[in-house]
Subunit: 248 residues, 2 copies
Amino acid sequence: MLKKERHAFIVREINIHNKVLSSDLSTQLIVSEDTIRRDLHELHEEGILNKVHGGAISKSIQFSLQNNIVYSQPDKIIIAHKASSLLKDGMIVLLSGGTTIIELIKALSPDLNATFITTSIPTALELLNHPTAEVIFVGNKLLKNAQMAVGAAVIEKLGEIKADLCFLGINSIDAVEGITDLEWEAIEVKKAMIKSAKKTIALAISKKLNTTQRLMVCKIESVEILITELDPSDELLQPYHAKKITIL
Amino acid sequence: MLKKERHAFIVREINIHNKVLSSDLSTQLIVSEDTIRRDLHELHEEGILNKVHGGAISKSIQFSLQNNIVYSQPDKIIIAHKASSLLKDGMIVLLSGGTTIIELIKALSPDLNATFITTSIPTALELLNHPTAEVIFVGNKLLKNAQMAVGAAVIEKLGEIKADLCFLGINSIDAVEGITDLEWEAIEVKKAMIKSAKKTIALAISKKLNTTQRLMVCKIESVEILITELDPSDELLQPYHAKKITIL
DNA sequence: ATAAAACTTGTACAAATATGCAAAAAATAT
DNA sequence: ATATTTTTTGCATATTTGTACAAGTTTTAT
């Protein structure tokens, strides 16, 4: 078997499986692993694939490693526009943190006259750019990673509020397990926000559907509206339809 | 499974959920936690994510102020370094808003263990980047221009605090007229901060010396320490020496 | 302030790799 | 056709890499 043929075979394998193992190729092509290594090395030099310890990997996968700037932003913008249609003048609205919520704020109509309440610093900062929004920050001790205020004083203050809507950026949502998250203190705040609002709207890109994490924020029944970038009739959303949740 | 594949998986998880736990990844990828730690460490070195105790978190969520052009920044950095020498472990410190205060925060020793209290959103955001600082945000209605919390609830809350130091970014200071400013609501907050701290330290670039504005924050006698970028013996600072203010 | 979880450091071992060399194969020249 | 050169391949060996485990240290925590 000619070298060129081996190379063609290897490239085909990479295109199909995104990776190849030197050991596999050695048995498939009936040459020594040394030869495979040399082949992969050459293809790497030509920029056709990425040689790694144990085999080689498609270049496209390397792309996704660097492409982490604003993950799924187009999806989040779709969600933001769906969500913004729910807001009316005079409303009092609770907002959590997260990049999806930031997109929602950017998507707000510039002449919307609503009052927004949040405990997230980035959310507050973005809200301040809106020309007419009234912004209330419920403060206390700030959590470093989540960049939000947490603790008993926050919970108490939120308890005094009667809001119309509560928009939650979601980390994990599952039709059975409900909304789950990782940080205990942040979850306590989200619970309080849900309790203080007439309606809770969950915003989640579809990749977060049917995933769960360690700690529960609320049961799925506590969510009135679920917004994803998908069409409401999408297969993935059936379990949530079944739970009588409005899907936008 | 190749190492790069694991890396790609981890990055995908980070992009979806903003954070990952080493323990979760260990079970999902069926490798030891050691290996996960090494992976996260490598990805951290590559600048793809932020390694933290127990796992890793997304970089994109960790956004700070995209520091635009700061007026008179070199002077402000000099001031910041002088001011940071006043801070000791265990102190409770009040901070106003303003770019000089932001520079002060950047100049803090990374292992300083102090508690900072502020009503300014940009100040809070910058403080969150400090590794050990405890940050407390006194929240309420936010003022758009000043990007800070104001109002009776803030004044009341500040009244309950007993702080060691209060650092004020100053707009106008004059040996006769004292510290003056423009926005009534923001001034009320500064007054309350001065009242709650044992010592008040005014930070001002020399261009703001001997200028006055419409509304008074406090008399010059309320300031214990004045910090400018000038040498303390500078001609311009004589009027303040005469008022028994410590000049750094 | 104590226990659990996570981290560091060092060790061990297997898998993968690099390198030099010689045999085999292919290309080229005579 | 045969000899000469060049390329390719496989093998032995020494080296590096990737992973897991263990012991001791640090950090975190509901």
